[in-house]
Amino acid sequence: MFEVELITADHKDIIHDVAFDYYGRRMATCSSDQTVKVWDEDEKGNWTESSSWKAHSGSIWRISWAHPEFGQVLVTCSFDRTASVWEEVVGEKISSLPTTSRRWVRRMTLADSRTSVTDVKFAPKYLGLLLATASADGIIRIYEAPDIMNLTQWPVLHEIANKLPLSCISWNTSTYMLSSQLLAAGSDETATHTGKVFIFAYSESARKCVKIETVNEITQPVTDLAFAPNPGRTFHMLAVASKDLYIVNIRGVTDASANTKLEIQTTKFSDHNCPVWRVCWNMLATMLISTGDDGCVRIWRKNYTKNWKCAAVIKAEGSYTSYEPSLNSPTMATSAAATAKYYKKGTITNQNQVPWH
């Protein structure tokens, strides 16, 4: 059964991305209204806006948090062809207030792209303070802050040009059985029927990042992808949002001549029956959320035999009338009968709703 807490975001237009910090206690939202908002959760679980500022001169597509050992750092990317790095600084303590004032300062504008910057992601922390951007002109740029105490310098470390426009990017979080860190990018180009998911890695011999693999099974436009967190798994998982939802299992294998290569196995999930726009893993990669074009979010669970099944469908409704009765009057019997995992709407008849004795 679900408990719902409603937050009025006060953005003037639709939110494009919601990102949570390492602990899930801070939330950053970015919108077509060109502003970024940061929200903090208090001890009682209430979310309040702690900062809000105009960050770009175009829609802000994505936002990403750096690992807290680099401080409170955000990066945003926008239609205005830039990405910006933001750092929260503690101001002078004002004696009348119980807490010190905090504000977000723009540390750097990454203005190398000539087209809309479609995605931006910080790299896993063991690589240092790195971030990757993807642009509509197909260029991936990897930037590094060499001095983690001074975020005003972000030289470009690598630049990878691709033939197709890029819509999304994701870093792998683990290097188990791999010779290098993996970076995946997806293209939402619609004209060609070639693979739309590309995997890049650093090549020791070429001394640069190169494309090492294309996932040929996915030829439809890709709008989002995400590597799963990897606590102790022997293979890597990449979720891909395309015409359907895909889960790509990637295994690093070493051949006889000690070269590592990737073994790729793709599974398609067509439950949405419509394009899938976004994907998101939970902390331990035991669950996955997919955003469909049908107004529904699907939550997928991995069962003990390691198969993925859709466990819940969450639907948006337009009006409150049909909503309130089921929310306000869950009788004791129905709430006890609701399955352990999620609360069901009162209108759905199901054998499990027959009350316990």
Partner: protein, 677 residues
């Protein structure tokens, strides 16, 4: 295992329902989900406000699975069960049957104690007129009552099988516990003595006792009746007394028992048909129950509420030696009869969740049982602990005989999910660790990951997590927390703290960057930020060459301030020679030498003066040239070393230095040679 349909849930979000919009979801932490309206975008999307900008509210819905263990009563249940869980793991699957039964009973007694507390809380809530709390506690009672009931039956069937596999006597115990009305009435009546038979409860109690197979108590109650000496009472008593009982430790073979039983039954039926008992219909009914009379039992069924309520009693009088493997069939036959008499068209129709779990248990269908008890709205507490217990005592093999491996997978995955769900809860994370500790490699990895993600606000909390990380040898978790603390302190301008945490992290790069920060600050402002912390670093400085430089430079700075110029000069020269001076610090270091060089009585010998001159020409001058060239090339670039420096005129400084060196050299040579001479 049956396929489940996904669960449907709806949130109200008008913006999501607008044309071209949809709903999007993100995981927060644990299993919390954030939902908001979404407009699909692609790399060709043109930037324009959407048609609904400023019209509909932009909402974020935080969805969270209901978590019952935040309630103090249930929290203590989790805590107590956790120590039993740990004790169970310590048996390492090699415990004896008695030990496992003891564990099972401990778990059950924890549940029972919890039920009592919940009962009390309900009463308290009722007194306070707190309807919500009352409903909540009643819901918990219904959940945990079911759990106890199923656990008890599982214990009988799987943990405590009798040598002969006969189940009826234990089923009677189970049913007595869960339907205690007859027994309670009997206790009250027995206390009344001779007046018992006047009570309205007298015959119902007797019937209830017989239905639950409590023949001895029933006889005791019969003896309280004033007419006990009459023929029909005597006959009843005699029938009950002579009833053969099947006990698994009695030594009677089952064949012998069956013939005894048949003989007794025929004899009793003959007596009943002789209408001796007709004088007292109540007595006749009792004896008809005992002989399993179809008609009479059918009448009873009509009065029962739950299908299994009279089932053990019926078995006791009709199939007392029933074995575990026969139980499923017997239960199904009984259930069909029960459903027919209750007027249900199909067995399934009116089966409640608990009813079905009990049937599955009797059918020995563990797969289905485990599946069903996952839906108990207890955040998987029961299914995790019961599965683990059955696994530990080797009884989970029942699940799939051809797929033995599945058992451990199932058990590990339940532990993994339960442990991680506790660990992502503020108050319960330490309890969650024990479950992850016992589910293999993946559990350990999840433990390390979740431990690092426990939010800490104070230094004390950070130290607590670090202590656990050290015990578990999660070096990376410890390092990460130290670095986060260091960065936090730095932002709060608590520099000494930042330095100490950085050193504690043992991360050379991180320590170097903090030392750089302090040195940079000093070279720009002349202000040493955290003298006490630097003074106390000691041998730990060797973690980073930059830190060594910082400490040594600080020593110089101390001597200099105390006007202890000779050791200061010596240290300075050592630093110049050390090859660990960071590039940005050269100007600062060389300028520090000016006052020593200009001292009337020389502090620096001629050889060292030459060395200073040498470093000036080979380090600082090229550095300045490099900067100048860069400045010509990129005039807009922020000027690093030169402009930040406290003295504007670099050329002048260089000249000053050269002159100081020359003057000191001349003085030093004179003195040195004079002394020599």
């Amino acid at each position: 295992m049956q396929e489940d349909q996904p669960i449907l849930f709806a949130v109200v979000d008008p913006l999501s329902c607008r044309y071209a919009n949809t709903l999007s979801g993100q995981f927060v932490s644990g299993n919390k989900v954030a939902l908001s309206a979404y407009r699909p975008i692609t790399s060709t999307t043109v930037d324009a406000p959407t048609e609904f900008a400023g019209k509909d509210d932009v909402l974020i819905h935080m969805l969270q699975q209901e978590f019952i263990f935040d309630d103090p009563i249930l929290r203590s249940l989790v805590a107590e069960a956790n120590s039993t869980f740990v004790a169970l793991q310590e048996l390492k699957k090699r415990g004896s049957k008695t030990e496992y039964i003891k564990i099972s009973r401990t778990y059950r007694s924890i549940v029972r104690a919890c039920l009592e507390k919940l009962q009390e809380a309900t009463v308290n809530a009722e007194e306070r007129d707190d309807v919500d709390a009352q409903a909540k506690y009643q819901q918990y009672i219904s959940i945990f009552y079911s759990i106890e009931c199923v656990w008890h039956l599982s214990e009988i069937l799987f943990l405590d099988p009798t040598p002969s596999n006969a189940v009826v006597p234990q089923l009677l115990d189970w049913i007595r516990f869960h339907f205690p009305a007859a027994e309670r009435m009997a206790t009250d009546l027995l206390l009344l003595g001779r007046e018992a038979s006047d009570s309205d409860d007298y015959w119902p109690a007797l019937k209830g006792l017989i239905i639950q197979g409590q023949v001895d108590v029933a006889r005791a109650l019969l003896h309280l009746h004033p007419q006990v000496e009459t023929a029909h009472f005597k006959l009843t008593d005699q029938i009950l007394k002579s009833m053969p009982t099947y006990t698994h430790h009695g030594g009677t073979s089952i064949q012998k028992f069956r013939s005894q039983w048949q003989y007794w039954l025929t004899d009793t039926e003959r007596k009943v048909s002789a209408n001796i008992l007709a004088i007292e219909p109540n007595l006749e009914e009792l004896i008809q129950l005992v002989t399993g009379d179809t008609q009479i039992w059918n009448t009873q069924i009509q009065e029962s509420e739950y299908w299994y309520e009279f089932f053990p009693g019926y078995l006791f009088f009709t199939n007392p030696a029933c074995k575990h493997f026969e139980l499923g069939n017997a239960a199904n036959t009984w259930l069909s009869r029960w459903a027919r008499l209750k007027g249900h068209t199909s067995n399934e129709l009116q089966m409640k969740h608990l009813d079905r779990v009990i049937l599955n248990l009797m059918e020995n269908d563990m797969h289905q049982v485990i599946h069903a008890i996952q839906l108990m709205a207890d955040n998987q507490w029961f299914v995790t602990h019961l599965t683990d217990l059955l696994y530990n005592c080797g009884q989970l093999q029942i699940v799939g005989e051809n797929q033995v491996n599945e058992c451990i997978k199932l058990r590990d995955s339940l532990l993994y999910d339960f442990g991680s769900s506790l660990m992502s809860r503020n108050a319960l994370w330490q309890l969650g660790m024990d479950y992850l500790d016992h589910c293999g490699q993946e559990g350990q990895a999840a433990l390390a990951l979740l431990l690092a993600k426990i939010p800490f606000r104070t230094e004390k909390q950070a130290l607590k997590i670090i202590a656990i990380a050290q015990k578990k040898r999660f070096f990376e978790v410890e390092q990460e927390i130290c670095k986060i603390q260091s960065k936090k302190s730095l932002n709060e301008q608590r520099y000494g703290n930042a330095l100490e945490w950085a050193i504690r992290s043992r991360d050379t790069l991180y320590v170097t960057s903090i030392a750089d920060f302090l040195l940079n600050h000093y070279s720009k402002t002349g202000d040493m930020l955290c003298p006490d912390a630097i003074a106390n670093i000691g041998a730990k400085m060797f973690i980073s060459p930059r830190l060594v430089f910082l400490v040594k430079y600080f020593d110089f700075y101390q001597f200099y301030r105390k006007r202890d110029f000779l050791p200061a000069a010596e240290l300075l020269v050592n630093l110049l020679e050390s090859k660990i001076t960071p590039e940005y610090f050269w100007p600062s270091l060389l300028i520090d030498s000016i006052p020593l060089l200009e001292s009337k009585d020389p502090k620096i010998l001629s050889k060292e003066t030459c060395a200073i001159l040498h470093h000036l020409e080979t380090e600082l001058v090229p550095l300045i040239d490099k900067k100048k060239k860069r400045l010509e090339k990129y005039p807009d670039e922020p000027i690093g070393i030169l402009k930040d420096y406290r003295i504007e005129n670099i050329e002048e400084i260089i000249n000053l230095l050269r002159l100081a060196c020359a003057r000191n050299l001349s003085r030093a040579i004179i003195i040195e040679n004079t002394v020599m001479g």
